[in-house]
C-alpha cells in the first residue's frame, strides 16, 4: 500500500535505568495512515518506548524526529501539544472525577467558566462513536468496570485529534464486542490519516489491523514484519529462537493428536 508522509522517526534511541539498559539503539518509523504494531515478550521494552514517546521518560541518547524536525519530549504536555496521544496500560484516570472531567482533563472548554453542557454533549457523542457502554458520564470513574475505564481512556486520547495515537495493550481488559470495536476504531483512525502505534500480546489482534509489525526483544529491534508473516516466524522473532517454549508446546500437542 502507498505510504503517507513520515511523521515520527526514531534513530538510536536508548534508555538506561541505572545499570539496566531498557532500550538500546531503537529505530522506529511511523507514517501517516499506518498502523504499526509493537510486539515483544514481557520486559522487551515496549512500555518504556511508549513512555519515552509520551514524554513520561526522557531517552538517555538518540534522536526523535517529528515531521522532519528533531524534538525533545521533555514532558507529557509537550508530547500532547505535538499531537502524540497515549492510552497508557494503567489508564491514568482520576478516580475522584467523573467521566466528563476525565475526558477533558487538562483541555477543558472555556477555562474561566467551564462549559459543562457542551463537554457532556461531546463526551456522549464520542462515547457513542466508540460504541461504548458507559451508563452515566456523571458518575466518578471509581464506579466503572475495567473495560469501561479502558474505553474512557481511549476516548480521551482521541479528543484532541492527535497525529499519532499510541495504545498500550488496549484490548487486554475488553470483551469480545468491545475488542472488535477498538479494532474498528483503529482502522477508522488510520483512514482519517493518523498514525497508530499498537502494543499488544494478542497476535490475532495485531495481524488483523497492523500494516507493519515491529518486534522488540530485550530492548532492541529484532526485525520488522507484515501481517502476512507466519505465526511461527513472529513467535521466533519475539522469543529469539525458532526452537522455543511455544513451538515445543505446539509440537507436543500435535504429537498427542496424531
Amino acid at each position: 500500500m502507498e505510504q503517507g508522509e513520515l511523521i515520527l522517526k526514531l534513530r538510536g534511541v536508548s534508555k538506561q535505568f541505572g545499570a539496566v539498559t531498557a532500550l538500546k539503539d531503537i529505530e522506529l518509523d511511523v507514517h501517516a495512515g499506518e498502523v504499526v504494531a509493537l510486539v515483544g515478550d514481557n520486559g522487551a521494552g515496549k512500555s518504556t518506548l511508549v513512555k519515552t514517546l509520551a514524554g513520561v521518560h526522557q531517552p538517555t541518547s538518540g534522536t526523535i524526529e517529528w515531521c522532519g524536525t528533531p524534538v525533545t519530549l521533555d514532558s507529557p504536555g509537550t508530547a500532547l501539544a505535538l499531537g502524540i496521544a497515549t492510552v497508557f496500560q494503567d489508564l491514568a484516570l482520576c478516580e475522584n472525577l467523573d467521566v466528563v472531567a476525565n475526558l477533558f482533563l487538562g483541555h477543558e472548554l472555556n477555562r474561566w467558566a467551564l462549559d459543562e453542557v457542551e463537554m457532556e454533549v461531546r463526551a456522549w457523542t464520542l462515547l457513542q462513536e466508540l460504541a461504548a457502554r458507559i451508563p452515566s458520564v456523571r458518575e466518578p470513574i471509581a464506579s466503572l468496570s475495567g473495560g469501561q475505564r479502558q474505553t474512557v481512556a481511549i476516548a480521551r486520547s482521541l479528543l484532541l485529534d492527535p497525529k499519532i495515537i499510541m495504545l498500550d495493550e488496549p484490548t487486554a481488559a475488553l470483551g469480545v464486542a468491545q475488542t472488535a470495536e477498538v479494532l474498528n476504531l483503529i482502522e477508522r483512525v488510520r483512514e482519517r490519516g493518523h498514525g497508530v502505534i499498537l502494543i499488544s500480546h494478542n497476535m490475532e489482534d495485531v495481524r488483523a489491523v497492523a500494516d507493519r509489525i515491529v518486534v522488540l526483544r530485550l530492548g532492541q529491534n529484532n526485525g520488522v514484519f507484515t501481517a502476512e508473516t507466519s505465526h511461527q516466524e513472529l513467535v521466533a522473532a519475539i522469543t529469539g529462537a525458532s526452537e522455543n517454549s511455544v513451538s515445543r508446546r505446539m509440537a507436543r500437542k500435535q504429537g498427542e493428536v496424531a
Binding site: F88, L93, N96, L105, A113, P140
Partner: protein, 410 residues
Amino acid sequence: MSGAQLDRADTRVRHDEGLSGALRAFFDRVRSGDLGMLPVFIGLLLITLVFSSLNPVFLAPNNLVNLLFDAAAIGLISLGVVCVLLLGEIDLSIGSMSGLSSALVGVLWVNSGLPMLLAILGAVLAGAAVGFVYGFLRNKFEMPSFVATLAGLLALLGLQLYLLGATGSINLPYTSPLVKFGQILIMPAWLSYLAAILPGALMVFSGLKTMKRRRDANLSSPGLSVLLARAGVLTVALIGCVAYLEQGRGVPYMFGVFTLFVVALDYALRRTQWGRSMFAVGGNAEAARRSGISVKRIRLSAFMLCSSLAALGGVFAASRLASASQQAGTGDVNLNAIAAAVIGGTSLFGGRGSAWSALLGIIVIQAISNGLTLLNLSSSLRYMITGGVLAIAVIVDSLARRSRASHGRA
C-alpha cells in the same frame, strides 16, 4: 422531545426524576458514604441543643453576632487549608503565618507609618512568598509538606517574635478603620437581606439557563421543581438567619467579606480549569501530569494561596483584637483552622472537599468554643474538647472514605 435523551439511553441506570427522585438520590449518596455537609448540620444541631439548654445566652442574637465576628479570621485561614488539603498536602505553619502577618501590619503601619492598605498588602505578599518557598521545597526536593511547614511553623514564629521586639505587642489605633472593621462595623439591614436573597435568585437564574441549554442539547435536566425547591429552602434559611441576627446587632462586615472569599474560591474550584486541575492532582497526580497538567504549578498555587489567606486571616485577627501581639497565631489557631476544614467535609486524603467546608466547619468550631466560654470553662477543657471533635471528624472522614470505596465511589 426527539428520541431518547443522550444520557438516558442506557437502561441499566435508574433515572431519578423530580423532587422524590432527587431525595432518593440524596439518600443513596449518604448511604454509600458520600456524606457531604450532613455531619456539619447534625453537629450544629447537637451543639445548639446542648449549649442552649445549659445556658440560654448561647442562642441570643448578639452572642451569635459575636460568634460570627470571631469566626471570620480563622475561617479565612481555614479556607487556605482547604486548598492544600485538596492536593493531599498540609500546611502546619498557618498559625505562625497569621501571627507574623499581624506583626508585620503592626510594624509597617503603626511603627513605620506606612499607609494601612499598603501594610496589609505587604503582609499578604509576605504570605505569598512563604507559600512559594513551601511549594518550591515540595516541587524541587520532594520535601513532604508536613516537614517543610513544620520547620516553617518555628521559623515564622521566631520572625514574629523578632519583629515585635522587646515590647512584645503593638496596639492598633482604636479609631482606625481596620479596628472598626474588626469590632463594630455591621452591614446595613438592606444589604444583609439582599445578600440573603441573591444566592437563591442566582441559583434559579443560572439553573433555568442551564436547563434550557441541556434541553436544547438533548440532555436530561433535574427539573424545575427540584431547582425551585432547592432555591426556596436556601433563601428561606438565609433570610431566617439574617432576620434572627438583625434582632441583635446584625451581620458583621467582617463575616460578609469572609463569605465573599468563600464564594470566590468555590467558583474557582468548581467552575474553572484551575479548580478541576486541583481536584485531579489531589485524586491522581500522575494521571494529572500525563494529561498535560503542570502539577508543580498547581502545587505552587495551592501553597501560595494557603499562606496568603493565612496572612489575611492574621490581619483580620489583629483587627479583631486591636493589637499585634506575641500570642497572635499561637495556641489553638493552627488546630482550629485545620479542624474546621476537615469537619466541614474536606478530606485529609486529597481530591475531595469544597470551599464551603471552611465556612461551615469554622462555625462548628467557633460554636463549641463560644459555648464552652459561656459555661465559664477554662481553656484547658476547651482544648481537650476541640481536640476530641477533630478526632471524631477525622474518624468520620476515614469511615466515609472506606464506605465510598466499597460502593464504587472515589
